[in-house]
């Protein structure tokens, strides 16, 4: 199968994400593993897509402000709702990993992610 564009996509974690993943690794390792698996699938689909907006998958959620949330779905077992908030930039083929949160913190996490993107865009 051919990859499009010739360039590979990359992840770039934020400093908040770096803290989140450590916390989730200790407290909710199964949820983190499931989200990571879906993140890997998201990357694989980006590689064969014309642009990031074309990517469609059940574990991806389009949130306001261009935020894409990757969830833990796709497994049997009793995993708690977990979302990894990302932002893809086609021009540099980079997916920014902003933060991880639960269903309970969904609203504030989306706002946090939107602010991150705004700050990032200003730079």
């Amino acid at each position: 199968m051919e990859y499009r564009g010739g360039l590979m996509w990359n992840f770039e974690p934020s400093t908040q994400f770096q803290k989140d993943q450590k916390w989730y690794e200790k407290k909710h390792p199964n949820e983190l593993a499931a989200v990571f698996r879906n993140l890997q699938r998201y990357l694989a689909l980006l590689m064969v897509s014309k642009n990031s907006k074309c990517v469609e998958a059940g574990y991806l959620h389009k949130e306001p402000g261009g935020v894409i949330a990757v969830d833990q779905k796709g497994f049997s077992g009793n995993l708690q709702e977990t979302r990894l908030y990302t932002f893809a930039i086609d021009a540099v083929k980079t997916v920014h990993l902003i933060t991880i949160g639960s269903k309970d913190t969904q609203h504030s996490d989306i706002e946090y992610s939107k602010n991150f993107i705004e700050q990032f865009s200003k730079q």
Partner: protein, 202 residues
């Protein structure tokens, strides 16, 4: 689930990773976590390939659903789910709708040597079939002879390039291929013709 971690103003870390595996390694996640992710990934190789095939063919989940006579959410579930949940019919339908070929192999993976031998055997069978067609049908002779020359050059080139990647040793011969003629006389037999065209020097 309560997130106890406090969110503080954040910025890109400046670190880039080309895969989740590289991310976990670079960020110092545990071996247990890596093993867990690897196990989950192994369970979903086929469904991921189906999703990639659809995405590459620029077919939406909605369109695929219509072709298969199911709902969009069923396609979404299929592509996000585990391999053991899909059927051969669904795999066949993905191949049909995307107009691509899909091969499914069960059992232990081939070793590199086994794979090379199987491919070589496959090549022999196909080339013999083409030679048979050339003998039976004059219309295809020139085309098939031309293809043999091209295939001979390409295969030899692959062998030469790969051989040159091996570590050096005493008594080794450097393999070099150059094209010295773009066209060859029609009267030469196929293999000699191919050698003449490619100017193979060993």
């Amino acid at each position: 689930m309560q997130t106890e971690i406090e969110k503080t103003p954040s910025k890109p870390s400046g670190r880039k990773y080309s895969s989740v595996e590289a991310l976990m390694r670079g960020e110092g996640l545990s071996q247990e976590m890596k093993a867990k992710v690897s196990e989950l990934t192994t369970e979903t190789r086929v469904t991921l390939q189906l999703a990639k095939l659809r995405q590459l063919s620029e077919i939406t989940q909605e369109e695929m659903a219509k072709h298969l006579g199911v709902t969009q959410s069923a396609i979404s579930k299929l592509e996000s789910g585990r391999d053991e949940e899909i059927t051969l019919r669904e795999i066949r339908e993905y191949a049909r709708v995307t107009d691509q070929r899909i091969s499914v192999m069960f059992g232990k993976p081939l070793t590199h040597v086994e794979a090379v031998k199987i491919h070589a055997n496959g090549l022999k069978t196909r080339l013999e079939s083409l030679a048979k067609i050339a003998n039976q049908n004059e219309d295809f002779q020139n085309e098939i002879k031309g293809f043999f020359g091209e295939a001979f050059f390409n295969l030899f080139n692959i062998m030469a390039n790969c051989s040159n990647m091996l570590p050096p040793g005493e008594g080794d011969v450097e393999i070099k291929i150059e094209i010295v003629h773009a066209h060859q006389p029609q009267s030469l037999p196929p293999i000699a013709s191919a050698c003449k065209e490619t100017g193979v020097t060993v």
